[in-house]
Amino acid sequence: MSSNADIYHEMIVEYSRHPSNFGKIENPDVTYHDSNPLCGDSIDIFMNINDNKVSDIKFHGRGCAICMACSSVMTEIVKGKTIDDVKKIQKDDILGELGLQNLQAVRIKCALLSLKVLKYAIYTYLANHLNDTNADALKQEASALY
């Protein structure tokens, strides 16, 4: 078993100090907020959607290094993708990017909060703007993350 402290490698520490796409979007097409009540990690995401593509995405909030790094990676993956592709993003796509596949159970919620917020945001967008009846699956996926 790898050491849990190994998760604090250069990339994670770097992202925690200088997160990607950190900030807010004025009048975004969709925004969503959630937090982890026990640890206090709190994330807002903002997206603009044009031609069925996420043309811009930013996140804001506070959290631990794991949360900030995973949120950063999530935004990097999402930016420029079509909604259909964004819907397909799975937890390992984000964890794998940072070598966090074996993250201990008590910290997994730190890593997946931003993905949960993303899935809820896309659900909100689809349900409100496109009357997509299949959007409910996304909501279930989000609540099943952790």
């Binding site: 849990n4 925690s16 640890c39 631990c64 290094a65």
Partner: protein, 413 residues
């Protein structure tokens, strides 16, 4: 040195302290403010109850019931002795501090707090001494006010004078020791002010009773609550003490078996104190386990406990203060501080820090410690917290310091 020898002997009584965690690292347990470890004497007492004496209490006449009842009730006497309580009828067994405070809020509070009244608490309370009063004051149209905390983590007691001067304060609900800052409340000053104003006082003793001598006969408060599991006892047992003249007028909390004298179709008369407040089958085995914990602490003596913690805390404060970028919250005056150190380390989030430290076998707590009002006051989302007890050593503090140095390396501080 005699102290060192004693601590070695104490450690032998705690099987869990021999454990290895993570990558074969010796466990260093510094999360005592959350819950204490249990000596073999407590574990054996619980096991002995289920092995040899298991029975319900207070009803059946058979031999097992008699033994179980006796052992359960002896614990009440030991609690009385431990805290210098003159009347055993004032001692109620509950699930823990949270239930004790809720019991007061739901019974005495509902009977006595009216619209426009004020309940005073403090910014360094645990949520268990805030939320029950929020529920009560919201229901009654009363007001909840807070005594603030200064930058040294001490209460601004002048604010209590201002609240008391309104003549509307019904209760002051206050912790005897902060679970985050370790600050020991100046109870004589609080009591003097409240007595003069004729205001009742509830004391949350969850952090104080395990770590220092508490004498309820001289303290002078009206309600006192604490938990067994933070003082070597099992989880699921707590004590509520209420001054008898108040307790006698309090309506029942839970209705059910054991709390009644006679039940008829449409009316019931209540059992004597304290049983009126102990509805249903209580946590018999764990109350009996708590008995062994009280014996253990009595044998050590609470002066030993306090002095040992002062020694460890002083050492840890000294070592930690020398680490660049490490911010310690609360007073540096050890006479006003229990064995609790809350801190933040540069820009490392407490959860990241706890994970790195845990990898070295050191268990500390990170988060808001059920004290979000205080976190707001300190203007932080969370802190890390190391808290000590009778079995902790300076060598263990050195392990913590080393793991902090490792965190500094990983985060390139």
């Amino acid at each position: 040195m005699q102290t060192a020898i004693s601590v070695e002997k104490i450690r032998d009584d705690f099987p869990i302290l021999k454990r290895k965690v993570r990558n074969d690292k010796q466990l260093v347990y510094f999360d005592n403010a959350a819950t204490a470890q249990k000596p073999i004497q407590v574990i054996n007492a619980i096991s002995d109850f289920y092995t040899n004496h298991n029975s319900n209490i207070h009803r059946a006449v058979h031999a097992l019931a008699e033994e179980a009842t006796e052992a359960y009730e002896v614990t009440r006497d030991k609690v009385a002795q431990f805290l210098n309580i003159k009347d055993r009828q004032e001692i109620i067994f509950v699930r823990g501090t949270t239930e004790a405070i809720n019991l007061v809020a739901y019974t005495w509070g509902r009977q006595n707090v009216k619209e426009g009244d004020i309940i005073v608490t403090t910014e360094y309370e645990h949520h268990s001494n805030i939320v029950p009063w929020q529920l009560l004051t919201q229901e009654k149209g009363a007001k909840l006010e807070y005594i603030g905390v200064n930058d040294d983590g001490e209460l601004l007691l002048d604010q209590l004078d201002t609240y008391l001067a309104t003549g509307k304060v019904k209760l002051v609900a206050i912790s005897q020791m902060s679970n985050v800052l370790g600050t020991i409340t100046d109870m004589p000053a609080v009591m003097q002010k409240c007595k003069k104003a004729g205001v009742k006082v509830l004391v949350d003793g969850a952090q104080s009773v395990p770590h220092m001598k508490v004498d309820l006969s001289s303290l002078g408060c009206d309600f006192f609550a604490f938990s067994a599991h933070k003082m070597l006892g099992p989880t699921g047992v707590g004590i509520l003490w209420v001054r008898k003249e108040i307790l006698e007028k309090m309506a029942p909390f839970h209705g059910g078996g054991d709390m009644i004298r006679e039940v008829h179709k449409y009316e019931t008369t209540w059992n004597d104190l304290p049983y009126k407040f102990e509805a249903g089958t209580p946590n018999i085995a764990d109350v009996i386990g708590f008995s062994a914990a009280l014996d253990y602490l009595s044998n050590l003596g609470m002066d030993f406990v306090r002095n040992h913690e002062i020694e460890i805390t002083k050492y840890a404060l000294e070592k930690m203060s020398a680490i660049k970028g490490l911010k310690i919250y609360g007073t540096k005056d050890i006479s006003k501080r229990g064995g609790v150190i809350s801190f933040n380390f540069a820009d490392i989030h407490p959860h990241d820090l706890a994970t790195i430290i845990d990898e070295e076998g050191v268990a500390i707590r990170s988060g808001h410690h059920c004290a979000q009002v205080l976190m707001e006051r300190l203007d932080v989302a969370a802190t890390s917290r190391a808290s000590f007890y009778i079995y902790n050593t300076k060598e263990e503090v050195d392990v913590l310091i080393k793991s902090l140095e490792k965190a500094a390396r990983l985060f390139k501080l």
